[in-house]
């Protein structure tokens, strides 16, 4: 980088000699979003907005504190949204295409002298394939690879969540809607928000979300509205708290990634 800055370097803004001069152990941060249906009330960009905002705020916070060297990559807008393939608006890559994209990016980063990469992921449907990619990039290019979601669990999730969702607010529900009310309120149509909680899932004890056994699902298995959860209780205050926690989590992930090793 040509001059010290209070925010994280943007890969896209750099020249190629700037990249060559990045400090050893710089963490390259790649936001991965989605362009996919999120119910009638949320924009297609919901996951892209969330991933990009969390990654950007986290990278800037780390850079501002000097906790680690960090560089922010342009986000992947189009990813693996095959569970929403039925819906107008969804632009989905096949698993082969997304893996190939991640492999190509990893190859390019390694060829640029980068040694540490963190994916900040806004779309749950990418998580499993990105785990596969973490290992592939580590094995083929020697990269230290990391993944953090653009959302949080635990205490904050409970405090600012909607318990009546029964843990089933996985797509376009209270949490995502609240975060968008904080980040892009002009794009949220609360007048179209309806509760869609698949309460029947509670009948099963072993199979289900967060249970030992998982199942393959498409979003229209749950009905024609496309979301799964209860957006009617969403609010910008919950959104702000959830977003700040996610930024903090991502910032700590960047910081730890800069020195992480297992031995």
């Amino acid at each position: 980088m040509t001059a010290p800055t209070p925010r994280a370097a943007r890969w896209a803004d750099l020249t190629f000699p700037d990249v060559a001069a990045l400090p050893e152990n710089t963490v390259a941060v790649l936001p991965t979003g989605a362009i996919e249906q999120h119910g009638p009330h949320l924009p297609l960009s919901t996951d892209l907005v969330t991933a990009t905002e969390v990654a950007t705020h986290a990278a800037d916070a780390v850079a501002a504190d000097g906790r680690a060297d960090v560089v922010l990559l342009p986000a992947l807008a189009y990813t693996k949204s095959d569970e929403h393939a039925w819906s107008p608006g969804t632009i989905w890559l096949s698993w082969e295409t997304l893996m190939s994209t991640l492999v190509d990016i990893g190859r390019s980063l390694a060829g640029s002298g980068i040694t540490r990469v963190l994916l900040v992921n806004g779309h749950g449907g990418n998580a499993a394939l990105e785990q596969v990619a973490l290992r592939e990039l580590r094995r083929r290019f020697g990269l230290a690879t990391f993944f953090v979601p653009a959302s949080v669990g635990g205490e904050v999730a409970r405090e600012h969540g909607n318990p009546s969702e029964l843990g089933l607010g996985i797509h376009g529900g209270h949490t995502e809607t609240s975060m968008m009310l904080h980040l892009r309120p002009e794009l949220v149509h609360m007048d179209r928000a309806v509760r869609r909680v698949p309460e029947r899932l509670d009948r099963f004890e072993v199979v289900g979300f967060g249970r030992p056994a998982s199942f393959g699902w498409l979003s229209d298995d749950f009905g024609p509205d496309g979301h799964v959860g209860d957006p009617t209780t969403a609010g910008a205050d919950d959104g702000r708290a959830l977003f700040r926690a996610a930024v903090d989590q991502a910032a700590r992930a960047i910081t730890e990634a800069s020195t992480f090793s297992v031995t």
Copy 2:
């Protein structure tokens, strides 16, 4: 099946008219193992043995009780063991090959009239890609797809685990070694068992196993022995308890899978 039997039908033993006559909603169970290094003390087949034994006992238990119609497929021995690619003995499929295999199997099952499929997985390194496959088979072939690991968490894991592993006994440690001491004691070399717990991981708070942020790893990142955990405390009694819990969990997964729907 031509006649009622006290154990689950074996797909391989059936003729093709037998398959055509399987009852609607029969759950097809596919064990997925691995042939990969498990440290100096465990055989390459550890995950294959575990997955096959858990799936078989579970399917037979379900059939014996008449809880569901179930048919057991031949196990996949060779799977995605790329994290052990460095080691003699590991036979690993690339992610493309394993996905193609699972897609081909799913296509064949759907073409055979099967509508419900459960993977019983003995190798953690397969889990993420199998999640991707669950969705792919659902979308392309309309199959109801399920996944259950051949191991348990929770209470039983705590009671019969080794707390000094700090939750890091992920490969060839106390749990897997105990299960093999129960299932195949003649193949376990306790004289070669050594403790290999990567305690340094405890320094990190956000990145790690079971933490919000994950990392890509190869088993030789942890050292040349190949396992990660403490097999020295393993015992057949713990193994028996862990195995029985895994069988019970898989049996319940089969049962729920036979009637599962989200709406």
Copy 3:
């Protein structure tokens, strides 16, 4: 779209019912950029900036005039920059990955009810493969497909170009540098700009840029600086004129695309 607006609809901002309600013959506009070295004086994002700005201004102009229905897709940042694979900073997709991405996007658009797609391309290295994609999307999905570069030839190019480049200012030369001085002056390092015109090419009569016979090249065939052309004469005024002409050209392409048919 929920309400008339003076600017073009942004796909990412829409909900899925909004997409389903787009008028027949709406032209979906996809900017394709690049993240690749552009010499020591220009940022890696040069082509992404150019494509995105041209596409956005053109789409908004068309929407403002009501010349056609148009919707703007999120840009592709990472594309086929294999000619710059040698350089730090370049993030390049293989031809298979970019074609797969374009095919997946085309499939998704067709599945969303879109019938007309225009690529606005900022990176010359994409042009050939995108021609292949135009036909592939037309054959496989029935889409009417179009391509327009984010730059102009002809009169304007001559008037605002640098004749001493001998027509060889193909990458990071007078034209691209001028456009960036207009669009993102803060990212241009004129102090690092040096003339790099491969005058030797003038010795050949049949083989060369803009000649009947073409040749395969990598940017380091021309030397270690990475650009090909003369940025030292670049200026924001030329950039503004070139940009306005490119926007006008793209706006007319959108308009014609909305009613284009060959019979």
Copy 4:
């Protein structure tokens, strides 16, 4: 192997240091079966049983005699059964998937220090592709590669065959049924066995099985029963003789493979 044994080493039972210590020129034996329809009277596993039994008995015989160092790999159950794709019960891999699997296995064996590999194949439909794989593994990994069928021709085949099959007992006929009556009599349904000999093929002189010109066939070209041949004359005595000859042939193939070179 930690200790001398009267039977061949089982790859799956070894630890990774055991594999690293295998003697130079050890022959790795891979049985390749199939899970595919074999008519109404034979189980889907027919080829898997045959390949596995022949390979195991042959490897053990070689090891017992000390004729060569040999190690037995887990069988491939699922292979290229596309000619039976129409039938319930058939689980078939595409040619790409099977080749990828064989390439991945070959790469892994070479990476384990193995230099000689023998496929013992129970399914005729694999033979051509496995020939392709022999060369691919030799070229890419330097492996000495071999193939032997789990069945015999010549004298024994004539003596224990059924001449009324006119050489057309290629799938589920007298030979395979006899071998299964010897190996797994409990899985053979002789009450369902019917003669299905495509005598029309005898009209052709150049095109046909065992003739200079071959033809592409699917098993349902021959009718809905799925088998081609006459199982009604099958018997366990013929099966035993045919099996013993196949074991002897495979054992000699292993022995020759251990020292084979062309110059």
Copy 5:
């Protein structure tokens, strides 16, 4: 080559030691044709004939003059004719297959000691993908790669063209028909020739052939006859002139390719 000859060496006629002895900087010339519909009046081989004749005459002319060392490869008959996929007679490779073919040929040529390759292309539908291939072969195998069409533009094209085609005689029109009347008159059915000029295209100013914006087309977009242009004015004299100009252009391309470098 075993003896000096007045014509260019034919790769296919050489032995392998002959190839190993080819002079440094020998240009390998690969004609790429097509087998595709060309309207009711022209044979499927039109582009194959044209590419092969142009390449052969050009290579022989260069060899006769001693302008460069040149070797002629067997033509590719089957290429990417997807725009004519609808028509009986068209044999078309997908883009993946043609790229794979070109990559395999490039790899083989580089492995044979060749450093310079020129494609002489008779089928416009190959041009874009061959541009992609030029770069791929340069990057992966270090080959200097070149492309020249088997047709000409400029003065000669104008003089011997049909102006009433409005520049739209792109497939089976005046030019191709004339060349075939010169090269293979016995295969041209002038009695079936009809004018098919898509005059509507003239209404557009930005989108069109030879305009800034291009469009994806299939030949049946223009109607059921398959050709686009006016063959009724074709003649052998025009064909001879066009052919000679194309041969001359290709010969000059070979000559320049033998010494071409950009620095």
Copy 6:
């Protein structure tokens, strides 16, 4: 075809309406050759010449006699010659590329109304993969598919062969050299012909050419000359006899293919 002819129709010479008018059950004949090293004495085109000449003479003979409707496709020059990849001059396709090519051709033929396809193969290294293709084209496109080699076994082979080759004259030996002395004497360098018979192979009883067990080989396993066999005894008379027998065999294959069915 526009007019009856004494020779077989050439696909390439036809127009697309001609193809559409081909009689039902017309056999499409595709010669598959190779461009690969054949020792120091034979041209790279040996297999291409042989396949093309055999196919052409056979098709013309069938057409002349009116035994069947037949159409001759342009030959595949470049095929799977990976066993000669080490040698200058060899142009080899990977197995994926050749299979993709054959699949694309099969798809195109089926789309052209063709129902019967015969491969006439001059290169032994293609045989196994072409067997795989026969089935693939039958399953995917419903084509009746056939394969015949461009050489003969049996009586004629014995009478006009060289017994001192011990059956090992598999590449560039007495037979191929004799056929080329008949077909293209000007391309045969008998002065460079040397005997290269791998007599050591005779020590093995089960593994070998024409034995129950096969092995994977590359031609340089046999030494640096590239051929395997004894060309020194070759003669045009033997070549003529072998060629005529191969033509006769192929003609009978075409004839039988035109009416072949198994039931």
